[in-house]
Amino acid sequence: MHPTRDLFHGKFPDVGKGTLAYGVAMKKVIRWLTVLLVLAMSLTGCVTHYPADPHGTLDRVTDGVLRVGATHDEPFVSVEGSEPAGDEVRLVEEFADTLGARIEWTTASEEHLVTEMEHGQLDLLIGGMTMDTEWQKKVGLTRPYKETVNAYGETEKHVMAVVNGENAFLLELDQFLQSSGGQS
């Protein structure tokens, strides 16, 4: 084997495996990796959550306002009364309670709500959405919290939607939905 075709891809041309120089280079690499790791860990220490929200949704809604968009789709969401009602509305209310958040409702069509969410005007979307929703590129979906079978015999895996990339908030919601969502 050619000695330079090594782990370091010719970066250290005189470093053959098993030589003293190889050991020194290896130590250098390990030292750099350690520095990187420590740096990453101290960065982790700076953020309150890991994973973190690029836009800080979880921190903002905790003891604050949770802006929820809802589309009519019974039995999950009903917007016929003065206040939204239904299974998913109840779940969101319970979730808001765990965060000490007050809910601010917006009711509109899904398309309208997704646009609002893309512009950062909403934190959470509900309305009987499933894993296969057409909006999955524009919004972030939770894990399915419930399965139902529709009139055509197809299984539907129900999800809620959050702003793309708000991973701390999403994980918080996922943990809530997986621990209590299934039972309601």
Binding site: R5, A40, P51, G140, N164, Q178
Partner: protein
């Protein structure tokens, strides 16, 4: 005058070479097995990470060179016949070309794909996953899978690299070299996912670009090697760095024949074996008897298993394209 190793000689490689071929075949099957498991595992945890998606496609593409090698080895074993008078050795070159093209095109596509994500400021979403009744961040599982699947290819790559040189098989070499660098792909993807965790939405796409760039580089290396092989460029060592030593060896051999005044050779790299065309100016014309030419051809064939096909022509002046100093 044309001399070839007899068809049966295909199976009569020197012992250590045929052992090396068998070992390489086993290693390539092992690589395919490892890659299949990797592709399934990575797919299961891939989520919305662009870096992970890129690493996944790279894992799938990494199957092309081993498949090319396995097909190449099988096809080149077929003896030459009237329809294929030069045998089937070029199959390796074709396989190499296909592998290089696949890598190059796919790498380019993945760079564009990741750039679009950066330009459109797409924030990758990675939520929770249920594991033994707990909901944990999927990113941790991704990192774990990348760590576990990143190691075996490196080991296999190093083992294959040792065989590529004696076998003079460039597909095997390129494949081994890619495997050996595989840990960098896993490392880049891990950095990307860890970056998402820190709230750095761009880290993922940036890592994807790093991985895709390495795929393009692999593709370009393979393509240029395959093309120069198919263009009958001067044979080189497997790493494409130096002219192959057999060129000067064959030339020296012919020049040192006592009835030869001047000689030169040109070689074709047929993938795993060489074909030699020799040109000799005899000291005097009547010395270039068929018997002497045949003896020289046979001697060259016996010099190295890589020499599969020799033609020596007596000439009055040497072709000036090949160095005849």
């Amino acid at each position: 005058m044309k001399r070839m190793a007899s068809p049966a000689d295909d199976e009569h490689l020197p012992d250590e070479i045929s052992r090396a071929v068998k070992k390489a075949v086993r290693l390539e099957w092992a690589t395919l097995g490892v890659l299949s498991v990797t592709v399934v595992l990575v797919f299961l945890v891939m989520g919305n990470s662009q870096a992970m998606k890129t690493a996944w496609i790279e894992d799938m593409l990494s199957m092309v060179p081993p498949i090319a090698f396995l097909i190449g080895v099988r096809v080149t074993r077929k003896p030459a016949n009237a329809k294929h008078p030069f045998g089937y050795h070029r199959a390796i070159g074709i396989a190499h070309l296909v592998a290089g093209t696949a890598l190059f095109v796919m790498g380019g596509y993945l760079i564009v794909d990741a750039l679009i994500k950066l330009i459109t400021v797409e924030h990758p979403t990675i939520g929770g996953i249920n594991l033994f009744g707990h909901t944990i961040w999927l990113g941790w599982l991704m990192i774990l899978v990348l760590l576990v699947t990143g190691i075996p290819p490196v080991i296999l790559g190093r083992m294959k690299l040792k065989l590529a040189e004696p076998l003079h098989n460039k597909v095997l070499y390129a494949d081994a070299d890619m495997n050996k660098a595989d840990w960098m792909t896993s490392f880049a993807a891990i950095v990307g996912i860890a970056g998402i965790g820190l709230g750095l939405w761009w880290a993922d796409a940036a890592a994807a670009i790093v991985i895709a760039t390495s795929i393009v580089k692999d593709g370009a290396t393979n393509l240029s090697a395959a093309v120069s092989g198919l263009m009958d460029a001067r044979p080189t060592t497997v790493d494409n760095k130096k002219p192959h030593p057999l060129i000067s060896d064959a030339q020296e051999f012919l020049r040192n024949l006592d009835w030869v005044h001047a000689a030169t050779v040109r070689l074709r790299d047929e993938g795993q074996v060489f074909q030699i065309e020799g040109f000799v100016i005899p000291a005097s014309l009547e010395l270039a008897t068929p018997e002497r030419l045949e003896a020289a051809e046979n001697a060259l064939l016996e010099q190295d298993w890589k020499i599969r096909d020799v033609v020596i022509a007596p000439v009055t002046h040497l072709p000036n394209v090949v160095e005849s100093d």
